[in-house]
Assembly symmetry: C2
């Protein structure tokens, strides 16, 4: 019955204006195409399933359901599971970001953290500064809240400090000042760029000077292949930075666990938004992830210290194979930087090549990619 009455529905339901800005993701549509058997997809950022710590997750599930099944399966605090928040705060401290567990909010994947940031910091028509290109999922998360995206001028090392100064410049009318700059400093999706230590310092000095808050998204920082990335942007200006992290790339995305760390007044609003959005993140999943992080225990290297080298080894081999294949197969005029971490190659085609128009042919030939126009 519901199915057969489509034309009625349209009359009955009045959709919110913001739905006009919401569209089916190009990436989503591409991913559907690439799910056809026989197509080698270079399009999605899917972590390698072979790297998932299945045995540890299995043991952690058994442990949690043995030791505290009722707490794990009951309603829980919106902030998240305290031991996991303490783990995050300690992990960030080791990277030079001082924060308290009271500033850590556990989210249902870091995509939810992006949605909460949009809900709390974006008004209809408010400018938001973003790298060009930036992570499409973030643009999608912010879009329902009505931002005007201000692309930041940049070079091969990331956005330029002057661009941040401009986006936040005090000379501008308040309504024209960006609410924040959304930055992915380490092995960005899609370009793979990692900002240098020097660039980070210059960017954060500019942000501070321009009183332009920074939303730092760091899902790939642990996936360095050659050398660890410099300290997070948040370490340079903690009271002006909201930092997003994820367990999707270090453990597994299917558990949907991420987090956001924010200065106290922003945290209070993110927490209210989280509560309104879904009450809290699964207490079972949080305990399982915490147990995995503790697994092996004792005084030796931590689980991630043992797990991540093998993950990096795997991605390093894939990166090198991709680099070799691009060198071998791409014609003159194609350019790209060999990424030093993360999961993405950003290839620039010669002038006159429309990569969107080429996609159907490529898929027919058995290879899929995301065109830059997306």
């Amino acid at each position: 019955m519901m199915q057969s009455a489509r034309h009625h529905d349209v009359q009955v339901f009045q959709l919110a204006e913001r739905t006009g800005r919401m569209n089916a993701s190009v990436i989503r549509e591409i991913l559907k195409i690439t799910e056809q058997p026989g197509v080698l997809s270079l399009a999605g950022g899917l972590p390698s399933a072979a790297s998932f710590p299945v045995a540890e997750v299995r043991e952690a599930c058994a442990q949690v359901l043995r030791d505290e099944p009722h707490a794990a399966l009951q309603y829980a605090a919106s902030e998240g599971h305290l031991p996991l928040r303490e783990w995050v705060a300690a992990d960030l401290a080791a990277q030079g970001v001082e924060c308290s567990p009271a500033q850590v909010l556990v989210t249902h994947g870091s995509q939810q953290a992006l949605d909460l940031v949009g809900k709390v910091l974006v008004d209809d028509g408010a400018p938001v500064a973003v790298e060009a290109p930036s992570y499409l999922g973030a643009l999608q998360a912010f879009t329902p809240y009505g931002p005007r995206f201000l692309p930041l001028e940049g070079d091969e090392g990331g956005p330029l400090p002057e661009a941040l100064l401009q986006a936040g410049a005090k000379g501008r009318a308040a309504s024209d000042r960006a609410r924040f700059a959304y930055l992915l400093p380490s092995f960005q999706n899609p370009t793979g760029v990692c900002f240098s230590q020097q660039r980070r310092e210059a960017l954060m000095q500019a942000a501070r000077e321009a009183k332009l808050p920074v939303v730092e998204d760091n899902p790939y920082g642990e996936l360095w292949l050659d050398a660890p990335p410099p300290r997070p942007l948040a370490s340079h200006w903690p009271e002006g930075t909201v930092l997003l992290g994820s367990f999707s790339k270090t453990l597994a995305p299917g558990l949907r666990l991420g987090y956001v760390v924010a200065p106290t007044p922003v945290y209070a609003k993110l927490l209210q938004a989280k509560q309104a959005s879904d009450l809290h993140t699964s207490g079972f999943a949080q305990r399982v992830v915490h147990a995995v992080l503790q697994s092996g225990g004792g005084t030796g290297p931590s689980f991630l210290q043992r797990h991540l080298p093998a993950v990096r080894e795997r991605y390093r081999a894939q990166r090198d194979a991709m680099q070799a294949a691009l060198t071998r197969h791409l014609g003159k005029g194609f350019e790209w930087a060999r990424p030093q971490g993360g999961m993405f190659f950003w290839v620039t085609a010669p002038a006159g090549v429309d990569t969107l128009a080429c996609l159907p042919q490529a898929v027919q030939a058995g290879v899929a990619y995301v065109p830059g126009s997306a």
Copy 2:
């Protein structure tokens, strides 16, 4: 560092206007008080942890991690896990609601479904018709999107059909017509009321006539104590109804699994909103819940058919104990209806009693409740 710079933060971050409408939940604050040891809390709707199917969840986790660990821990489709969506569609069909699995969107608890409904159907200033009182969590979910709540006039059997006609009346200016009526027909939180079959028919006839869509929230339907509730509202007008359901009360809330069923055009927008909000619900949790629902297998009664009678027995005993205690201890002038399902008693105090003002005394005496003013 972040902690010590509160006064700076306020200057740096400009919060979205909607954050001014977002407040710490009264219920949340009350729940904190009631967590003091020695306080008997009648305030929260926490399912009884003793009813959680811990053994089945343990077995389901082991099974999923044995049979399809990589799929369970990988990124997945935003719509949800197809076998679970098929289960939901079949379960609803058995209740008289015809729908296809393609109309079922799995959410991170039904609270997330409320947030998605707000995102897709509520504009700033748009009227939304609600029962008086209604579920506070829903009001919280809708509030960031800026609704004007229109309380529906009602009696002890639920809202009046005339009130729906009025809220959607064609005579009104379009901007004054409610976008939808949010209704909890079965054992509502907080009043415990269950709409009769006759009331349901009359309400949905009125909704249809007034072209007023209905958002039906049904987390407690399976927790009937004396007799099953009448068919869902959606069965009377499927193409005008969005239906929300949850596994929090039938299985356990800590897994955070709910769903929303919607006519196709609304579904498409809810799906885009879901994708922007958190990409997808945990594929691991979805498989675990599906495995629990299938557990025991074979041709006999389903898991829920075996599990729910014991759950109902437990809540029935609690309801009867509460009824006896209220009868014994409450003085003249207190009135309440004995609920026929769900988890809530709604007690009306005699005129002149301020239940909010009495709460601190009650807590000191060792009992907590939610005052109606909340």
